[in-house]
């Protein structure tokens, strides 16, 4: 059997339910891993060793009592440190909230607890989720586990969640995604993470960056793990007026492994065609793998996508400034410099700009809906470049030079803007050994098809089973869990 810290969440849940392993052993294995590696990785802001072990003992007792168990019973995970956790400090990656201890859980934290999951600790993040590199001047910059020699960013803003899952510090995590903050670290860290449709998952109890662009979602090793977690998290929440009343399907039932006849549109201009050559090669190969399994490919372009950066700046700039205005007046010096700078630029956004941006948003949503009326999913890289080194400022894309920040969010942000569900999953490695992320985008509220395609791809390939060698992995696929 594999070491416990490399076993995916769905397999751990099955092994726990079948009494092959105790939740206490599982939690201890991950806590030992954190003790050994997190001094360097800085994936966690808070580790909840005592409460996690107490919860694991209770979970073990429930297994031994033989009662009904949740679908993820006894499996530990790490919520990003902007999810409210009752009795556990929730900093938002900032010293402004260094002493904030919520008196209630965020809706999704409560729902995952009901499904049996245990909070192992709170993961690191770009301060207040306002940055795609995942930098944090207060709690340390998360280290991408795929390069032990060079400090490369884990991607943000959910950097700790990406690094923790990739290095085997926890089998699953929660991220939040306003411009790509689940998919970017998933891409750069070689894990699987899904941003659901806007309104599919409650944001109640989650510190906002931009209310109309924020999405909550799971990050884990496999599409199956994400399906299990999303099924537990999703659904209407009276505490979040943006949540949909649509019923939540059984996402795991959609994982048939079958992509015969699946219509896949490859996003070309602005996306795949401008990615770094090694990223493009991996993503093109992934498309061919799906085609060989029976999917039908064609090329797609989105007319208005080039305007998304301007419109997103107007929306996120205005909404983020509105949320932070009070602290910018009273705690200005307590923000890390890049976040303070970005927040202040929000003063430039007029009501005219904001509403024109929201009108463009309607256009982009219609445009994505239109191309998805004739296709089941769209395909592109999740990020145009692999993990950049800490401090790297510039990137070279197929259509010219770009700053790293703009490059990282370029392929993901359009689907925060449109609200469509999108997943990132590993589809290869660069010659330097850095992961490449494949992005699949689906119709509104059709996460099931996105997960089906991702799961089918993971049955065809073993990229998602690779592990960073420096973190104790072999770089090779593991033996099947439970074998």
């Amino acid at each position: 059997m594999d070491a416990l810290h490399w076993i995916p969440a769905a397999d751990l849940a099955r092994m726990i339910a079948q009494k092959q392993v105790s939740p206490v052993e599982v939690v201890r294995a991950h806590l030992e891993r954190i003790t050994a590696l997190d001094g360097k990785l800085k994936a966690f802001i808070t580790v909840c060793a005592d409460t996690a072990l107490a919860a694991a003992r209770a979970a073990e007792a429930a297994v031994m009592a033989g009662g009904p168990l949740g679908p993820l019973h006894g499996v530990p995970y790490g919520p990003k440190d902007l999810y409210a956790t009752k009795g556990i400090k929730t900093t938002g990656g900032s010293t402004i909230l260094a002493d904030f201890v919520p008196d209630a859980d965020a809706t999704v934290v409560a729902r995952l607890a009901a499904a049996g999951m245990l909070v192992l600790g709170k993961t690191n993040m770009h301060e207040f989720a306002y940055g795609p590199e995942g930098l944090n001047g207060h709690y340390g910059d998360a280290w991408n586990p795929w390069d032990a020699g060079t400090h490369r960013v884990a991607g943000g803003s959910s950097s700790g969640s990406g690094a923790a899952v990739a290095a085997g510090l926890c089998p699953a995590a929660l991220g939040s995604d306003t411009g790509g903050s689940i998919r970017i670290p998933s891409s750069l860290c070689g894990i699987t993470g899904i941003k659901p449709t806007y309104g599919r998952v409650s944001r109640s109890g989650v510190l906002p960056l931009a209310w109309s662009m924020d999405h909550c979602g799971p990050m884990a090793r496999t599409a199956r793990d994400c399906a299990l977690m999303l099924g537990a998290m999703a659904g209407y929440d009276p505490a979040d007026p943006s949540t949909s009343v649509l019923p939540v399907p059984d996402y795991t039932a959609a994982l048939t492994g079958d992509v015969k006849g699946l219509r896949v549109g490859i996003l070309r201009a602005h996306f795949t065609d401008v990615a770094a050559p090694e990223v493009r090669a991996a993503v093109e190969a992934a498309a061919r793998a799906l085609e060989q399994a029976g999917a039908r490919l064609d090329d797609v372009n989105l007319e208005h996508v080039a305007l998304v950066p301007a419109a997103s700046f107007a929306v996120v700039g205005a909404e983020a400034l509105a949320y932070h205005a009070g602290w910018l007046r009273t705690r200005n010096a307590d923000y890390q410099p890049d976040v303070r700078e970005r927040l202040k630029l929000g003063v430039l956004v007029s009501s005219n700009h904001y509403l024109r941006a929201q009108a463009l948003r309607a256009r982009v949503r219609q445009e994505v809906d239109a191309v998805l009326a004739r296709r089941d999913v769209l395909l592109a890289p999740a990020t145009p470049i692999p993990a950049p080194a800490l401090g790297q400022k510039d990137a070279r894309l197929g259509d010219g030079a770009s700053d790293v920040r703009s490059a990282l969010i370029r392929f993901t942000r359009p689907f925060n803007f449109s609200g469509h569900p999108a997943i990132s999953l590993p589809c290869g490695f660069t010659p330097a050994g850095l992961p490449v992320g494949l992005q699949l985008v689906g119709r509104l509220f059709d996460e099931a098809t996105v997960l089906r395609a991702a799961d089918a791809y993971q049955r065809l390939t073993d990229w998602h089973t690779r592990r960073p060698e420096e973190m104790g992995g072999s770089g090779r696929p593991p033996s099947p869990p439970g074998a």
Partner: protein, 62 residues
Amino acid sequence: MLPHMEITLDTLKRLTRLAGFEWEDAELEALRPLAERSLDLLARLDAVDLGETEPATQYRVL
């Protein structure tokens, strides 16, 4: 290509005051090049023909 937007320190200071903030001149001066790039970006929104499209202000999609 739209003309480059320029903003003086004084204009930036007035703008931030109108928004209810009092920030140091040094901080605003450091922000000025970024502010100019951001204004260039926002100007692209002024240039796009949105026809009769209404802003997507309704939160709930379904």
